[in-house]
């Protein structure tokens, strides 16, 4: 297909984001929705780190020549983003445990039925 020649590597990260979105929309188990939200987080991180890619670049430490250094700014910002993703998933799982022990289920439809009673 001619479409495949127009895609580059950062469209793969966008595709991973949309796979995570599909999972969050259609899964029946609560844990799988939480995992899909985590996948969306990490896909955004991967997409951001692909910015300003240079062929044959060295690590951004003081030994490499200045015109062949990789870009340090996206890497430094994404360290913070990964930790925030971990914090969000930890809070989601703690909330899920409380809901599950109160209503005794881990399925969206059964939970909604029990909430309405």
């Amino acid at each position: 297909m001619a479409l495949l020649e127009y895609l580059d590597i950062s469209d793969l990260a966008v595709g991973l984001f949309f796979i995570g979105l599909y999972g969050a929309m259609t899964q029946r188990n609560i844990i799988k929705t939480i995992m899909s939200v985590g996948i969306m987080d990490l896909a955004a991180v991967v997409f951001f780190m692909l910015a300003n890619y240079q062929d044959g670049a060295g690590p951004p430490i003081s030994g490499t020549p200045v015109d062949r250094m990789a870009d340090p700014v996206p890497q430094a910002l994404m360290i913070t983003a990964i930790v925030i993703g971990v914090s969000v998933i930890a809070m989601c799982l703690a909330t899920f445990m409380r809901v599950a022990y109160r209503y005794g289920t881990a399925d969206w439809n059964i939970l909604i039925r029990r909430l309405e009673k």
Binding site: Y6, F18, D71, V73, T80, V83, I84, M97, R98
Partner: protein, 104 residues
């Protein structure tokens, strides 16, 4: 039926986003990259550019991200139920099992 509709919607949005980004071609000038790779060693005595960015140029990001980690752990500590709360749940579940009710 719902699964097929969701897959169609997600695939359509993905193709639209890909089409829009691949037909536009812009070059942004890497201003931060030039500034930081030239000056990070004389501003801060660090030999690692990522450490210089995280600890000197962008200290606010690091400080507030540590605060977010602490807030998440405090919230997790408060939201997990304590075993004494689960005793009442265990008794209520045992009563439901005795009455033989189907809880759906």
């Amino acid at each position: 039926m719902r699964l097929a509709l969701s897959a169609l919607f997600v695939a359509a949005v993905f193709l639209m986003v890909t089409f829009i980004t691949n037909t536009h071609d812009e070059e942004l000038h890497p201003f931060l990259y030039d500034y930081m790779t030239e000056r990070f060693e004389e501003d801060t005595a660090a030999r690692n550019a990522v450490a210089a960015i995280l600890l000197n140029y962008r200290m606010y990001d690091t400080m507030f991200e540590a605060l977010i980690l602490l807030a998440a752990i405090i919230g997790m500590n408060q939201f997990l139920p304590v075993p004494s709360e689960l005793q009442s749940l265990r008794q209520r579940d045992a009563q439901d099992l005795d009455q033989g009710g189907d809880r759906t």
